[in-house]
């Protein structure tokens, strides 16, 4: 057979590698800032752009979509060409893909700092960026499938199955979760409300972990581990079973983020059991990775690349075992809303994603630059400082999370909660400090790597087009007699994508359809009414400032929570919440029943300086809310959008909304004045107070009728 000559495109890989390093440093720096803000609230700088509520989404988006995202593309562009014996389909598409993705990142960073957010975790970006993401993702898929179609290798290697599943599933997740009604260019409301929004959001959130942080990286693992170790993959059979089992089961597990909430019991239980069944498929990947190193463990001792990869796989194994454990209701009752979850995700992020990326970078860069790594010693130091960083990050947070949760739950024999919420916050300081040190060490390691790689690049000479040769694929194919049945689909990329899309769609459909269609899943409560225009404006400020990053709005049915916060949350309370704001973390107390708990002036003072009302508070001050005026011009569009979403405002209400708003604002302003606070009624603080005083009120009045009758 005749050999064809062609070149691999290393240039795109190089650019993605540079972007990975750069955004990695940026994302980690943002994380470090957020971590330090919890220890030293003064670092919030009293600026809207730098408060924790905005820094945290910047951090999560930067590390997930910028650092890991570019890492995925770097690894895929490198391995795909070589596994298929062809150049990337189109250099132009590669370029569009690269610059498009970087544009998204820059837009994301700017808008998040500006406070343009949908308020849905890891999907905070507003609708114009959502559309841009969809387009760039299609470019990526187009380029990938074009490459696959032009391949010179008949069968697709397991890494590529993972790439294809990633492409299809992320597209589905992103589109379904981002359905929203635009109000203006930078503001939209989620199509879904309350329980449904929560279910869709965590189906997305959980599977962003699955299909953005896990499956593409498993694909990379399947390429770089055998390459770096020079060993055959341990078990082809295991690859097949764990691939299909993983993508099928993962999708279902989303509701384990919503245990003990107002989500229907059956959905919660599905989340639990699918999480339990997820252990083996996840570990299948770990086993296949680690056992591939059989007979190469002596190399692991020497080779820093392998060291990184081994720790990455180990961290993956730990995190994927811990995940199902956290999904058990008994454990989740303790872990949820605490820093335990934060520790858990960082074992995955720092260990699995971070270390795998570092390992790949140390392997790729010297190869593409045809030289040796500048300093293996420095890389080794990076390995140890990074490992130490992970441990120092995770251990204090595990401790702190469990400690705080147990304090929240502790009662005196007389039946009172033993600890004020603030007592538990004060106890967190040393643990938060230790965590910040861990993060700092990890970042230091990344900086050392950057230096090391820059030095390597300086001495090397870049090979932009790497020559290769392979025979063309003949049109006819004669299979072997004893071929595994799975070989068929490995020859059929389109079928592979369609089948994997069907497999991943099942879980979502079965969980969503009943929640959307069966009325009994969300019993309505007649006393729950739509937000007033002023409250709606206040709610948007709440979303804009990222309050949900520290405050939940979901009282779970535990004695410790109903004693502290009030009646547990019901599904029917959230039917007008576009988007839902249940939150996932309680750095501060739950706010679901905040309404009427404190006077208006308390909130005013508290927003100006939280420590004045709540000594030792680590909440940042929000002085600009006292100065900035409410954007009244947006009210009409907002009410209209809400009406389109099915919120039952009266006919033509948008036209009289302004009067209602003025009236309510006047009342709050007057109540503030009684307590000696002079403030005009057109300030944002007034709207926010209106919203905060509304929280949980609907059901409270209903309760009162009940209690006063007996």
């Amino acid at each position: 057979m005749e050999l064809e000559k062609f070149n691999y495109d290393n240039k795109s890989v190089k650019w993605f590698a540079y972007a990975t390093i750069f955004w990695g440093l940026v994302g980690m720096l943002a994380g470090l800032l957020a971590a330090l803000q919890l220890v030293f609230p003064v670092l919030n700088l009293e600026l809207p752009y730098t408060t924790f509520g905005r820094v945290r989404p910047v951090h999560t988006n930067a590390v997930i979509f910028a650092f890991v995202g570019n890492g995925i593309f770097m690894g895929v562009y490198y391995s795909l060409q070589r596994l298929l014996k062809t150049r990337m389909f189109s250099d132009f598409l590669s370029k569009v893909h690269f610059w498009g993705w970087q544009l998204i990142i820059v837009l994301a960073a700017v808008t998040l700092f500006m406070g343009y957010t949908t308020g849905k975790e890891y999907a905070e970006l507003e609708w114009p960026i959502d559309i841009l993401i969809t387009l760039v993702w299609v470019v990526f898929g187009w380029n990938m499938f074009g490459t696959i179609i032009r391949r010179r290798e008949r069968h697709l290697y397991v890494a590529i199955w993972f790439y294809i599943a990633t492409f299809a599933t992320v597209a589905m997740l992103h589109i379904v979760n981002s359905i929203e009604i635009p109000v203006s260019f930078w503001k939209s409301y989620s199509w879904y409300a309350g329980v449904q929004d929560a279910l869709v959001q965590w189906w997305y959130g959980h599977n962003a972990v699955a299909f953005f942080l896990t499956t593409p990286y498993l694909g990379l693992m399947y390429y770089f581990i055998p390459k770096a170790a020079g060993r055959p993959v341990y078990s082809y059979r295991l690859s097949i079973i764990h691939f299909w089992a993983l993508i099928f089961i993962y999708i279902w597990a989303g509701p384990h983020h919503l245990l003990y909430t107002a989500v229907p019991d059956w959905a919660q239980s599905l989340g639990v059991v699918f999480s339990i069944m997820l252990i083996a498929p996840s570990w299948g990947g770990m086993i296949n990775g680690l056992l591939t190193l059989r007979g190469a463990w002596d190399k692991v001792r020497e080779d820093v690349v392998l060291k990184f990869l081994v720790v990455a796989i180990t961290a993956y194994g730990m995190a994927t075992f811990e995940g199902p454990m956290l999904s058990l209701k008994g454990v989740n009752a303790i872990s949820h809303f605490t820093d335990w979850t934060i520790a858990h995700v960082h074992v995955g992020a720092l260990g699995w994603n971070g270390f795998l990326t570092f390992g790949i970078l140390y392997w790729l860069i010297p190869r593409m630059f045809r030289t040796k790594l500048y300093s293996p010693k420095l890389a080794n130091a990076h390995f140890w400082i990074g490992t130490l960083g992970i441990i120092l990050y995770a251990v204090p947070l595990y401790w702190a999370g469990i400690m705080q949760s147990l304090m929240w739950k502790e009662f005196t024999p007389e039946g009172q909660l033993k600890w004020q919420f603030m007592d538990t916050v004060t106890k967190m300081a040393p643990f938060y400090a230790a965590r910040a040190v861990g993060g700092m060490l990890y970042l230091t390691g990344a900086i050392m790597m950057t230096y090391n790689l820059i030095k390597t690049i300086k001495v090397g000479s870049f090979l932009a087009d790497e020559p290769a040769e392979a025979p063309a694929l003949s049109n006819e194919y004669h299979g072997h007699k004893n071929d595994h049945w799975h070989r068929w689909i490995e020859r059929k990329p389109v079928q592979l994508m369609v089948v994997s899309l069907i497999v991943v769609a099942i879980g979502g459909i079965i969980e969503f359809v009943p929640t959307f269609l069966v009325k009994s899943n969300i019993p309505t409560i007649s006393s729950v009414k739509p937000y007033t225009p002023l409250e709606l404006q206040g709610r948007d400020i709440y979303v804009r400032e990222g309050c949900y990053t520290c405050h939940s709005q979901m009282v779970r049915p535990f004695r410790s929570e109903t004693s502290r916060y009030g009646e547990y949350s019901k599904a029917g309370e959230f039917v007008y919440d576009h988007p839902f704001q249940w939150g996932s973390k309680r750095t501060g107390p739950d706010l679901a029943r905040l309404g009427g708990k404190y006077p208006d002036s308390w909130h005013y003072n508290h927003m100006m300086d939280p420590t004045s009302m709540s000594p030792n508070s680590i909440m940042p001050p929000y002085p600009w809310l006292l100065e900035d005026k409410i954007d009244v011009s947006s009210t009409v569009a907002k009410i209209k959008a809400m009406k389109r979403l099915g919120v039952p405002y009266p006919e033509g209400y948008e036209n009289v909304a302004a009067q209602d708003m003025e009236k309510q604002a006047g009342e709050i302003s007057a109540s503030l004045k009684k307590d000696g606070v002079e403030t005009p009624s057109d300030r944002e603080i007034i709207a926010l107070i209106a919203y905060l005083q509304r929280l949980g009120k609907d059901i409270k009045t209903a309760d009162k009728k009940e209690t006063s009758s007996n």
Binding site: Y236, V273, I276, M277, I279, Q416, Q420, F558, Y598, S601
Partner: protein
């Protein structure tokens, strides 16, 4: 034939978990949820499960070795050890179940939150599993040893227990299972699925079915609302039991003005919890001034106690009964009463009505009723009848 037997044994072992759960349900229907919320029970269940997985995996491993001609020569008795184990476990289980009826009455024998029967039953299973495991390991070692010493054995390398567990083909022989795949130099072996992994996977699927049946089909498990109701009821009983004997039990009807150290304790509570709204010296701020003679909800010790305890949520005073004990509320109420006439700087303007201590003659205000508590009572009643009179 032989492998079939083993398969039965494996499945039998797996289903041992089923009756265990049913048992926890059946004999103690009323305390179902306490079993599954009991840490010891869960821990023991976990140990049982893990040991079971190991046993199943080892049985599998033995089966693998059994395929060598060595074992075929062994006497028949050894073949169905797995079945034997399962049978033994089953017999023991039935015996224990029978005993359950008689022991049920003696509920007061509690070990670590579990009644004695359950505890020893589970301990028994663990010990049994331990014995089975040890014997399996011994058999395995014997097998491996005899393999090593046997002159006919072709493999020069020692087969470790670990490699048996993983079901892997030795590196030296991996050419046998090397597939003809080659992707950019990456080759693929076709090792068997590690038995412990495979059976672990099966087990999680079985557990998933049992879980769904337990909670949603048989409905034998408590879902969150029932769980919550039980938790609240238990707390109510516990607290009532405790308060029966507690000296610190006071309420708004029995509270008396305290003195000395209690005032000091009240001051500490005031500084940490009340000062934010009522001012450091009680001069008022967000909340009303507590140093003057005017009170919105009554100024007697019992009225203040009541205000702190239940709050006036419509006016922004929160209820403290879940955070402060009755004694602490009495302390802080007494401290507040000592603030009267302290004239701190920046006092907030008076709010509410002039309060006159019971027994004292009215000074100026002829309208105020002589009995403060009566006055407060009337006011409270009005408020209960018409709640939420505040604007907004």
């Amino acid at each position: 034939m032989k492998s079939k037997l083993h398969k039965y044994a494996v499945w039998f072992n797996a289903f041992m978990l089923l009756p265990l759960i049913n048992f926890a349900q059946g004999t103690q229907a009323s305390s179902t949820s306490t079993y599954f919320s009991n840490a010891l029970f869960l821990a023991m269940l976990a140990v049982i499960t893990i040991l079971l997985i190991v046993i199943v995996a080892l049985t599998q491993a033995l089966k693998n070795i059994g395929q060598s001609d060595y074992l075929l020569r062994r006497d028949e008795n050894d073949k169905n050890s797995g079945t034997k184990i399962a049978a033994t476990l089953f017999i023991l289980f039935t015996v224990f179940s029978a005993n359950a009826q008689t022991h049920n009455a003696k509920q007061d024998w509690i070990i670590g939150g579990l009644d004695m029967f359950t505890f020893y039953f589970m301990l028994g299973i663990i010990v049994l599993e331990g014995i089975v495991l040890t014997s399996l390991l011994l058999t395995l070692r014997k097998l491996l040893e005899s393999k090593r010493t046997a002159p006919i054995v072709a493999k020069p390398k020692e087969k470790t227990i670990l490699s048996v567990l993983s079901g892997a083909v030795e590196i030296e022989n991996e050419a046998e299972i090397m597939l003809d795949h080659d992707y950019d130099g990456i080759k693929e072996l076709d090792n068997d699925l590690p038995p412990w992994w495979k059976y672990g996977f099966y087990l999680t699927i079985v557990v998933a079915f049992i879980y769904m049946i337990h909670f949603h089909i048989a409905k034998t498990g408590d879902l969150q609302r029932v769980e919550y109701a039980k938790e609240i009821e238990k707390a109510r009983v516990d607290v009532a039991e405790y308060m029966k004997n507690a000296a610190s039990n006071v309420d708004e009807t029995s509270v008396k003005m305290l003195e000395g150290a209690d005032i000091e304790a009240g001051k500490n509570i005031f500084v940490s919890t009340c000062a934010a709204c009522h001012g450091k010296f009680g001069e008022g701020g967000v909340g009303p001034n507590l140093t003057d003679n005017y009170w919105i909800n009554g100024g007697s010790i019992s009225s203040i106690f009541k205000t702190v305890k239940y709050g006036w949520p419509d006016k922004g005073m929160k209820s403290w009964k879940d955070e402060l004990s009755p004694m602490q509320i009495a302390q802080v109420s007494s401290f507040i009463k000592t603030l009267k006439g302290t004239n701190p700087p920046n006092p907030k303007a008076q709010q509410g009505d002039l309060f006159v201590e019971e027994g004292n003659a009215p000074i100026t205000d002829s309208l105020s009723l002589p009995n403060d508590s009566l006055q407060a009572l009337i006011k409270d009643t009005i408020k209960t009848i018409a709640p939420g009179t505040k604007t907004k």
